[in-house]
């Protein structure tokens, strides 16, 4: 079993009209045993910047802690929040630093850039950025996620419609993957508010 499939995860970020949604599953497992059903994979750095980390859970937590550290120092020094594009460059640089002993994580970054334009990107475990205009996925269920998102995605969705779309794509994909699931955790972010919702799906 690959190291990326040790804990199991599923992540989606999708772009809507002046908003974005980022969603994850809630299972934390150790190979085939489920350890937790409320594991947090998506972290908020500031009101307009979220990041989800899939892959090995210990690396995800450590990477998150390092990034929070860097981001807090940046906020203190520059007296402003980090832009999502800047943050993505920072994550990419941090991951490449460990090129020959990498973090076994695949991050998904989603945020609102300056003119309230949604920004999403993902990268591989050594920092190769992939910017997308519609959606990005990561995790053990990623193949199903790609198919599901491609099928249901429409450009310029309103927040409520986006929520429905992402929920459907996430739940149907994790149902096909034994290592991820146990519900969903989804954030829909607009310039004015952040809506956090827990989904109940097949609890297995």
């Amino acid at each position: 079993m690959s190291i990326f499939e040790y804990n199991g995860s599923a992540l989606i970020a999708m772009v809507g009209k002046n908003c974005f949604a980022i969603a994850s599953d809630r299972r934390l497992g150790v190979q085939l045993q489920t350890i937790a059903t409320d594991f947090q994979r998506i972290y908020k750095f500031h009101d307009r910047l979220f990041m989800g980390l899939s892959g090995l859970a210990t690396d995800a937590q450590t990477l998150y802690q390092r990034l929070v550290f860097r981001h807090k120092l940046y906020q203190l020094r520059e007296e402003r929040d980090m832009k999502p594009e800047t943050f993505a460059s920072l994550v990419s640089a941090l991951l490449y630093e460990k090129r020959f002993g990498p973090y076994f994580c695949q991050p998904v970054i989603a945020g609102l850039s300056d003119e309230n334009k949604p920004f999403i990107c993902t990268m591989d475990s050594i920092g190769a950025k992939e910017l997308a205009k519609d959606f990005v996925v990561a995790g053990t269920a990623s193949e199903s996620l790609y198919g599901a998102c491609e099928a249901v995605f429409k450009p310029d969705m309103e927040p409520e419609e986006l929520f429905e779309t992402v929920s459907q794509a996430l739940l149907s994909s994790v149902d096909r993957d034994c290592l991820s699931g146990w519900g969903g955790h989804i954030y829909v972010v607009t310039p004015t508010e952040i809506k956090e919702r827990i989904l109940k799906g097949r609890m297995d």
């Binding site: 020094r77 520059e78 832009k83 594009e85 800047t86 460059s89 920072l90 640089a93």
Partner: protein
């Protein structure tokens, strides 16, 4: 005076609470050629005297190289930025003659008063820091951050063993998301944001002149004229495009040094 007993070691405070070496460094700055900067509503101008010590100095080596870099509407993509910047480095190191105003990033320029060689070292370090920032964040460094890091370097040299402070004060002019900015950095490592400032030989007269002439809503062209007039105040001899240097940055966020022909045009307008 009692202080002189404590001037042998940089790292020792004198009884009056001063670090005497820094005072001496400021004196070195104060005897350097005058330079000044003015922040306008839509840009910043920095200027300096460039008096050659004798007529035997080869004037062609003191040419301004701005004409090599004046790109008109260059697309500002990431890759081009890097190429542009690296080419800048190469050219500047190769062609460095005696240009007093230097570019640190495409949108930040700097001028000094004091010791030229110390200035070269600081410019080199600042450029490296700016480029490191860009490598990490893929964003141009904000002016405040670059000034802070340069000031930190200067402070290091006031608290380490076996080194002396830099004998220069810098005027850093830049234009970023926060608008036009002008900072002065002293040998001690302290930095201040100025609307208009002067340093070097004629500093008190120049500052008085600037205080009288400065208005908050000045445009960039007015600022250039004011800068020229201020330099003229304390200038010994005939002022011309060949013995002063002017650098400007406008709302296009591109710092450039004016050619001597352009300076002569401004001088004609001022007459």
């Amino acid at each position: 005076m009692g202080d002189s007993q404590y001037s042998f070691s940089l790292t020792t405070f004198s009884p009056s609470g001063k670090l005497v070496q820094i005072e001496h460094a400021l004196t070195a700055v104060g005897s350097g050629q005058t330079s000044l900067g003015i922040k306008a509503a839509n840009g910043v101008v920095i200027a300096t005297e460039k008096k050659l010590p004798s007529i035997l100095v080869d004037e062609t080596s003191v040419r301004d190289i701005s004409s090599l870099f004046f790109h008109k509407s260059q697309p500002f993509s990431c890759l081009l930025f890097r190429c542009h910047f690296l080419i800048l480095f190469f050219f500047l190191n190769y062609l460095w003659q005696v240009q007093k105003i230097q570019i640190l990033t495409p949108n930040i320029g700097v001028v000094y008063s004091g010791m030229g060689p110390d200035f070269r070292v600081l410019v080199r370090k600042s450029r490296k820091q700016a480029e490191q920032y860009h490598r990490l964040y893929k964003e141009p460094i904000p002016v405040t951050q670059l000034v802070r890091e340069t000031a930190a370097v200067m402070q290091e040299f006031t608290q380490s063993g076996g080194v002396r402070p830099f004998g220069v004060s810098l005027l850093v002019a830049g234009y970023d998301d926060k608008g036009p900015q002008l900072y002065q950095v002293d040998p001690s490592g302290s930095y201040f944001s100025w609307k208009a400032s002067a340093m070097g030989k004629n500093v008190s007269n120049a500052k008085t002149f600037l205080e009288k002439r400065y208005t908050d809503d000045m445009e960039l062209d007015d600022a250039v004229h004011t800068a020229i007039l201020t330099l003229k105040e304390g200038f010994e001899g005939q002022i011309s495009g060949k013995n002063i240097e002017i650098g400007i940055i406008g709302a296009d966020k591109k710092f450039r040094v004016l050619t001597s022909a352009e300076i002569d045009d401004y001088l004609a307008e001022v007459e």
